[in-house]
């Protein structure tokens, strides 16, 4: 075998999460209370379109979670040796992008570097000019003449390819009447963009290159996993704490409420960044003190990412918990809760059946708003130097790098724009999707869509 799969801790968590979701769906597949809202979300225009976009993001993230190390060329008499560099399935797919590294910055679709260099011309004289790129547009003999025809030709082919794929995919569905226009158009957009990228990206740096010449498109795609991980794992840490403590504080009141309030007031009164920075530094020291636990740099970066998620989660539950406590205080006096108490329904059941579903809209809205906040928080923390590992590709590190680039003259804008575009589409899709879910879960709004 020329490679060996590697399971990082975060990969394991992702697999576990997937397994839980799959098991949940399997168990609830006949449950009408669960299916009806789901069907409504997927049947609505906005719901199906945003679900598709999210699926693309999740797909990229999952591909990027299949890690492996390559086997080094055999040396006789020795056991198989593996490279220390952990790669993912996405890296494999994007290997032209990964390997086409330039010297430094280059603009999107550029054929020349962004900085002048002293070169020795063919006649032996030294000139200061923008050198040709090693990979971007390297196949063109005369960029000034051939650039546009080449881009148009390749782009046209890509668009065509995307449309053909779309037709092949959509026709059978359309014939069975299983789809509607919003979904079809979204799919078309995605496929056309994918076609364009597939056709152009191996030959040009579609989104330019960064300071060390890495392709920005590659960086953006790699950042998706980091962003999704931070958003999802942190939310998974936040939710049980916020929901459990918030509702318990609101419903039980008295001592329970006092203790929980004390807890979050204390947490809130410590400046957030400081607390996170301190915790991250502690974790970092621990990681560095035990190098034997991590066999690769990727494993170390991964552990640091997980620790960051945990810390963000442990410090980030207070806002939602306070919101839920207030809402529960209101709800517990409502008569349907009183009626349930009069029936002797157990406390846990009242919390789960009567209170939780009625605060779920708050949870959803807060989680989605926080999701974008978390990705941004990562950027802020990277700026302070306590975010994810500097070697790890993330939106935060991209934005952090862009800080200096924006001060350059002429300005290097593409890294920031790329990070912005990818995050914008992700967060917007997640927001709109959550809106649909909330409407579908609300019996009053059901059927209105």
């Amino acid at each position: 075998m020329s490679f060996k799969p590697v399971l990082l801790w975060s990969d394991a968590l992702i697999l576990l999460l997937l397994a839980v979701v799959a098991a949940g769906v399997w168990l609830l597949r006949h449950n009408e209370t669960f299916r009806a809202p789901l069907r409504q979300v997927l049947a609505s225009r906005m719901g199906s379109a945003t679900a598709l976009i999210l699926a693309v993001y999740v797909g990229i993230g999952l591909l990027d979670s299949l890690h492996y190390v390559e086997r080094l060329p055999d040396e006789p008499g020795k056991a198989a040796q593996y490279s220390g560099e952990v790669k993912s399935a996405l890296d494999k797919l994007l290997s032209p992008l990964r390997e086409n590294v330039e010297k430094t910055y280059s603009a999107p679709f550029a054929t020349h570097l962004y900085a002048k260099e002293t070169m020795t011309g063919p006649d032996g004289r030294e000139v200061r000019d923008y050198p040709r790129l090693k990979h971007g547009g390297a196949h063109l003999a005369d960029p000034d003449q051939e650039f546009w025809p080449d881009v148009l030709k390749r782009g046209g082919l890509g668009v065509l390819g995307g449309m053909v794929c779309w037709t092949l995919l959509i026709l059978p569905l359309w014939q069975r009447g299983r789809t509607h226009s919003a979904l079809a158009w979204t799919l078309l957009c995605i496929l056309v963009v994918t076609g364009l990228l597939v056709a152009l990206a191996p030959h040009y740096h579609v989104l330019g290159t960064d300071k060390v010449g890495q392709d920005v498109l590659y960086l953006s795609l790699k950042s998706v996993r980091t962003g999704l991980l931070i958003g999802t794992l942190t939310t998974l840490v936040v939710l049980p704490l916020a929901i459990g403590l918030g509702i318990a504080a609101g419903y039980f009141g008295g001592r329970v409420d006092d203790v929980i309030q004390y807890l979050y007031t204390t947490l809130n009164s410590i400046p957030g960044v400081l607390l996170i920075a301190a915790a991250v530094l502690v974790v970092q020291v621990q990681i560095e003190a035990h190098p034997e636990l991590f066999d690769t740099a990727a494993a170390r970066a991964d552990m640091r990412l997980l620790a960051l998620c945990g810390i963000l989660g442990l410090t980030g539950w207070t806002g939602l918990a306070r919101l839920l406590r207030a809402e529960t205080l209101k709800l517990r006096e409502l008569e349907f809760v009183q009626a349930a108490r009069a029936f002797g329904v157990s406390r846990m059941r009242i919390l789960a059946r009567h209170l939780l579903p009625n605060v779920m809209h708050l949870v959803l809205i807060t989680v989605v708003i926080d999701f974008s906040g978390l990705v941004l928080a990562e950027a802020v923390l990277s700026y302070v130097g306590v975010g994810v590992d500097p070697a790890m590709i993330s939106f935060g590190n991209m934005i952090n790098g862009a800080r200096l680039e924006l001060a350059r003259e002429p300005v290097v804008w593409w890294q920031l724009v790329a990070a912005f575009l990818f995050m914008f589409v992700l967060v917007l899709a997640a927001n709109l999707f959550a809106d649909q879910v909330r409407d579908a879960l609300d019996p009053k709004a059901r059927g209105r869509a």
Partner: protein, 634 residues
């Protein structure tokens, strides 16, 4: 002309998609100086929307599509918005239902009245303050309340302050939208008296919007006063109150009177008004009431009835009224006075028992000792809430919400607990159910004391008593299907039933309370208020209770729906031998349903006796005051 005249007013509200709602569809009336017009109708008939249209305060998406409103010769719909601002709150003022929310909580009374004085009369400073003081005196408040903030005032005082604010602009016509609905009966009587006084001393026109037949009657006793009965966006009957209450001409009005519960209708089934008010986007070929009308005939379904003058000054929108107005016209003939049973008025009870009375007869003021064990025995029950102050939350005193109450309810008996808001009746109910821990005293249910019961024993005991709440909108979990709501109690208290047994029983219960069986799969918001109250009753019945605590079960409902619920309660009492602890502030409902009545005030029971005795020979002044405050007595 004098006063306010409304001609052919039509209001349209744009709904989702292309739906167009017509909550008000061709309304004409006039309100002259020193005249009171009562706009009477059930919820959803368009009476509030009429008032908002007059004020040009229609909600988003609403607009006036036709009609003209004249105030002393000025066409209100032709005025520019800036000019309308001067009329609104000035020449045409409006007071609202909820005194809690219609005053700004962070402004003192003087400041709020001062705002109106500055806007409409240009007064400021000491002059304005003096005038505000005069206005407060006019509405029966002391001038030292000028610097009070709304939270320092009681509900009645707030309503008075609001009226003072509205008087600041010296209105020619005052619109009062359910001004007393949120108030206690004694306070209601004071506010109604105040409105009457102000009307005659200031020569103001008064447009009173109400759902309460008795309030409408109380306010329109004068010879010029009129009652307008609204149904589905139209005025269906227009008459002086003497004529209307003596002989209502429209079948809808007749039905409204017939569904009213009263002491002298005890044991009778209340008349019911089937169906519901048509949706505001319904299209009508004939009469709007045809679907529910007991006297409907072919012509009603195809021809829109005219507004006929039955007797001078008494109009009704009914084909039968045309016949009555001109008997030679129609072979159907009119309906005379003979058809109208029972005119609401002062409750009079014949001492002899009503022959159709329910089998459980009230036996004077005492429980039938020895004969039957009491289902519920409360002795010296007290609920005190500690008042905590300071950093360490030391208890500095107690609010005595319930302060030593002793009561007993026999099997199959209905005991009514009557009292004004804040008297502790709801707290008492919750303490009985152990939703609140009582401070002292004992509650015995079926002979067994509830105090000290815990866990399983308490749960089993809970099956014997259940509660139905006032507000059918907050008493059902909006996120649970009706079937799940009904089965929840069974799952907790009847463990012997399995899933299928519970579903069967739920279907059975829905049938008993008169709901379709497919209701189990739907969510509560798909049902009307009355239907939701039926669901709440079914839920309580699910665990076979012996005692049902009814906490104002009909006060959030329209009178026609109230009649259905009261009938249902009477049926269930007969079929299951249920005992009711019926909590209410509505004396006519109590008079209709209760065997015995307990009058409660400030946490104590003042008087307890048979319904007949309490209503006819009250022993204490407070009971007499409650009875005398009920509106609509002639």
């Amino acid at each position: 002309m004098n006063g306010l005249s409304v001609e052919n007013l039509r209001v349209e509200i744009a709904g989702a998609g292309d739906r167009r709602f017509l909550p008000v569809d061709g309304v004409d009336f006039t309100v002259g100086a020193d005249q009171c017009v009562a706009l009477l109708g059930e919820s959803g008939c368009g009476k509030s929307m009429t008032a908002l249209a007059l004020m040009r305060l229609l909600p988003e998406g609403g607009r006036v599509t036709a009609g003209e409103v004249n105030l002393q010769g000025d066409d209100l719909f032709a005025l520019a918005e800036s000019a309308m601002g001067g009329v609104r709150g000035g020449r045409l003022a409006m007071i609202f239902q909820e005194p809690q929310t219609s005053l700004n909580p962070v402004m003192s009374v003087a400041e709020q009245i001062g705002e109106a004085l500055a806007a409409h009369r240009g007064l400021a400073g000491a002059v304005a303050r003096a005038e505000a003081g005069r206005l407060l005196e006019a509405v029966g408040l002391q001038t030292d309340r000028l610097d009070a903030y709304p939270f320092q005032l009681s509900g009645g005082q707030r309503q008075r302050a609001l009226i003072a604010m509205m008087l600041a602009g010296e209105p020619e016509v005052l619109i009062a939208d359910e001004p007393t609905t949120a108030l206690d009966v004694t306070v209601q009587a004071q506010i109604l008296d105040l409105l009457k006084d102000l009307r005659s001393t200031r020569g103001m026109g008064l447009l009173l919007i109400t759902h309460d037949l008795d309030v409408a009657r109380e306010m329109t006793l004068g010879p010029n006063d009129r009652v307008a009965v609204m149904y589905a966006g139209q005025i269906v009957e227009w008459a002086p109150s003497a004529g209307l209450y003596a002989a209502p001409r429209h079948p809808y009005t007749q039905k409204l009177f017939a569904v009213l519960p009263r002491l002298d209708r005890r044991g009778e089934r209340l008349d019911s008004l089937p169906g519901k008010v048509p949706a505001p986007d319904a299209v009508f070929a004939g009469c709007r009431f045809a679907e529910r009308c007991p006297a409907v005939f072919q012509r009603c379904r195809v021809e829109i009835p005219g507004f006929h003058e039955v007797v001078p000054g008494h109009f009704a929108r009914c084909h039968l009224a045309e016949a009555a107005a001109n008997p030679s016209l129609s072979p159907y003939g009119g309906f005379g006075k003979g058809e109208i049973e029972g005119i609401p008025g002062r409750v009079e009870v014949v001492a002899a028992a009503n022959p159709t009375q329910t089998p459980i007869s009230p036996n004077g003021g005492v429980t039938k000792e020895g004969s039957e064990p009491s289902v519920l025995e409360i002795s010296d029950l007290a609920v005190h809430f500690p008042i905590r102050k300071g950093l360490l939350k030391r208890t500095v005193g107690h609010v005595k919400a319930v302060d030593g109450v002793s009561l007993a309810v026999a099997a199959g008996e209905t005991l009514a607990l009557v009292g004004e808001s804040g008297c502790g009746k709801t707290t008492l109910a919750r303490a009985v159910l152990r939703l609140i821990e009582p401070s002292s005293g004992t509650v015995r249910l079926c002979g067994e004391s509830l105090a000290g019961l815990k866990g399983e024993a308490l749960r089993r005991k809970r099956a014997q008593m259940q509660i139905v709440f006032q507000d059918p909108f907050s008493s059902l979990n909006p996120r649970m299907r009706v079937g799940d709501i009904l089965e929840e109690g069974m799952a907790a208290l009847l463990p012997e039933l399995d899933r299928i047994g519970r579903a069967h029983r739920a279907a059975d219960l829905l049938d008993q309370v008169g709901l379709p069986t497919d209701a189990a799969g739907r969510y509560p918001h798909e049902f009307s208020g009355g239907q939701r109250q039926r669901i709440a009753i079914a839920r309580a019945l699910a665990v076979n209770p012996k005692l049902l605590i009814l906490d104002e079960p009909t006060s959030a409902l329209d009178v026609s729906v109230q009649a259905q619920i009261l009938n249902l309660l009477a049926d269930l009492r007969r079929e299951h031998g249920l005992a009711y602890l019926f909590i209410s502030h509505n004396l006519s409902v109590v008079g209709y349903l209760a065997d015995r009545v307990a009058v409660m005030r400030e946490g104590r029971i003042l008087e307890c006796g048979s319904a007949e005795q309490i209503f006819n020979r009250p022993a204490i002044d407070y009971t007499r005051l409650l009875l005398d405050s009920a509106p609509g007595q002639v």
